[in-house]
Amino acid sequence: MEDNAVILNIENLKIAFKMRQGNVTAVNDVSFQLRKGHVLGIVGESGCGKSVTARSLMRIEAPGKLLSGEINFQSKSLGKVGIQRLDPAGELIRELRWKEIAMVFQEPMTSFGPMHTFGNQISEVLTLHNKIGKTEAIEMAVESLRAVGMPRPEKLIKQYPHQISGGMRQRAMIAMALICHPQVLIADEPTTALDVSTESQILDLLAERQKTLGTSILYISHNLGVVANIADEVMVMYLGQIVEHAPVSDLFASPKHPYTVALLNSIPNIDKDYKNQKLEVLQGSIPDPYNHPDGCPFHPRCPKLIHGLCDMVQPRLLDVSLNCRVACHLYNASQKTS
């Protein structure tokens, strides 16, 4: 498959949770593509559905129920696969998991089983997917740990997760994720729980591994600075919908959707001396998931609200320029006229 061919094509994905007080739509009609060798960043505040979207690719979206939409994956071994049709506990999806789509989670503390050594947990993936012997799997595990810059990997193989620091554990997680050379790596806020210095080392490691192995990464985070540094293109999500999707330079240089603009302005800039200037603040808070506002979900907090339009009609995600998409009436109107 030549470079930047589409590996993952998601169309009108809709996921809802059945809760006691009623149904909560976590992901509301999301469509995007992931290209080979690209890093796609998904940014958004808590409850915007970024993590549920990512987990649905491996059908481990927990209590959620996939309502509709397609997840077409170009798998090496199985050809074109519609993941949404696979049974979450079935044979097929287990074929794909970790062999073709792997994942790194946010909490380094609890991502590894407490009762088993690193050697056991990492080599298990190899014996399962690559059908190779235990001893050979352990050797490959040692090599993969060395590749992520682990000091003394032979010693680490016999150690238990509680014996090493959070940063080290996250490195081991990445080693485990990349050991089967998956096509897609989903990173769900891998550095949120880490210190700044450990975070930057993990980001460097991910970037370096991505280049050498050519894996495409789906990077999820609420920290815009981190995404700006690691992603090729960025998607901003709000209340389960994509509001803006653009290459990283365009998005941060000239953000279009009012929410993206407000988000960028509300982060204190480390290189700017504010004297007694104040941060531009986005008023209000994320609406209650049980009663979505009608029309555009952002309209109650949007400074550029057009009465009669924004609070009635839901904007569609339309192309505004070369692979830049925005879901906002401000741009639809201009598109029609220009």
Binding site: I60, A62, R97, W98, M103, F112, G113, P114, H116, Y160
Partner: protein
């Protein structure tokens, strides 16, 4: 090795507790106003025989009942350490021979009950946790409740009643009469096995019910943790994944629950033995307490507590070995 140091520390602590228990059990038997002789005298008078005062004093002296409490305790404890637990008034035999005679049955019953509890509770607990809120889970919960609600002696009574009504056979004791003091033959062994189910059920009922609930709750807790999602994402099959990670992690609280399970076992065994007439230490303690047979009662209490302490020690050691977080501290 660190584990050895831990074992030695625990053993010394167990010995200290046993010392306290000995003082406590000896104190208990001293408390009631009279002692064995006076209650024995009262029984004799009731049946018309009278014993003159002088021989009473001689008897009291020979049993050392006239010395002050602390001296009696000191002498008793000193001899106890050397294995001489004093003489029982009721059986007029040395206490340690009575106990030695009954110890194997006690150990065999409690050990097999512990095994049965763990063998039943773990799979049922795992089964109930995995099918939460299903019919099976509900049934397990109901069984659990009833298990905890029916007192031991009542269960024994009901089982004996059913056996008596339906099969017309009395299922008390561990041995049918004809094998009573024969050497251990194949026939006797089979007969023993045939007698085992009822006492085991009575002893293990409440322990199993409680352990099922603990297992279910602990496993539900572990199933919610992040590493289960990681394992699922790695493509492991659901069954393999559940038994390898969350169930293994849930085993630690189960092993440490030996802490309240072992005393529960011995106490369940005591009551079952009294009702079913089993040849264990329970009934002797019961008769000793009723008849205020001081040395026998103290001996039984000591042995039962000793066994419990050893049981607790073993469960702690197994826990230390099984949980890497404790072992490698």
């Amino acid at each position: 090795m660190k584990l050895l140091k831990y074992v030695i520390k625990r053993l010394s602590w167990g010995a200290l507790v046993l010392l306290f228990v000995s003082f406590f059990s000896f104190l208990i038997i001293q408390l009631p106003p009279g002692d064995y002789l006076s209650s024995y005298m009262a029984r004799l008078e009731k049946s018309g025989m009278s014993v003159d005062n002088k021989s009473m004093v001689a008897l009291r002296h020979s049993y050392g009942l006239d010395q002050p409490f602390l001296v009696q305790y000191g002498k008793w404890f000193y001899r106890f350490i050397q294995g001489d637990m004093g003489v029982s008034f009721i059986y007029t035999e040395k206490v340690e021979t009575i106990i030695k005679e009954r110890l194997p049955a006690t150990l065999m019953l409690s050990f097999s009950s512990l095994l049965v509890i763990y063998l039943i509770a773990i799979p049922v607990g795992v089964f109930a946790a995995r099918r939460q809120y299903s019919l099976w889970d509900f049934l397990a919960a109901i069984l659990g409740f009833i298990g905890m609600a029916v007192p031991g002696f009542l269960l024994a009574l009901i089982l004996m009643w059913i056996a008596y009504q339906v099969f017309g056979v009395s299922i008390g004791g561990l041995q049918s009469p004809q094998f009573m003091d024969q050497p251990m033959t194949m026939g006797k062994f089979i007969d023993l096995i045939k007698h085992l189910p009822v006492p085991i059920i009575v002893i293990t009922m409440s322990g199993t019910a409680a352990l099922i609930r603990t297992m279910r709750a602990t496993l539900l807790d572990e199933l919610g943790k992040q590493y289960v999602t990681t394992a699922r994402a790695k493509g492991l099959a659901e069954n393999k994944l559940i038994y390898k990670y969350p169930v293994r992690a849930a085993m630690n609280p189960i092993i440490s629950s030996g802490g309240w399970l072992v005393p529960e076992l011995f106490s369940g065994e005591t009551i079952a033995a009294i009702v079913l007439g089993l040849p264990t230490i329970g009934p002797i303690l019961y008769r000793a307490l009723l008849g205020e047979d001081m040395y026998l009662a103290a001996g039984c209490l000591m042995i039962l507590s000793g066994l419990t302490i050893i049981g607790l020690l073993i469960s702690d050691i197994i826990l230390a070995i099984s949980d890497p977080r404790i072992r490698l501290e």
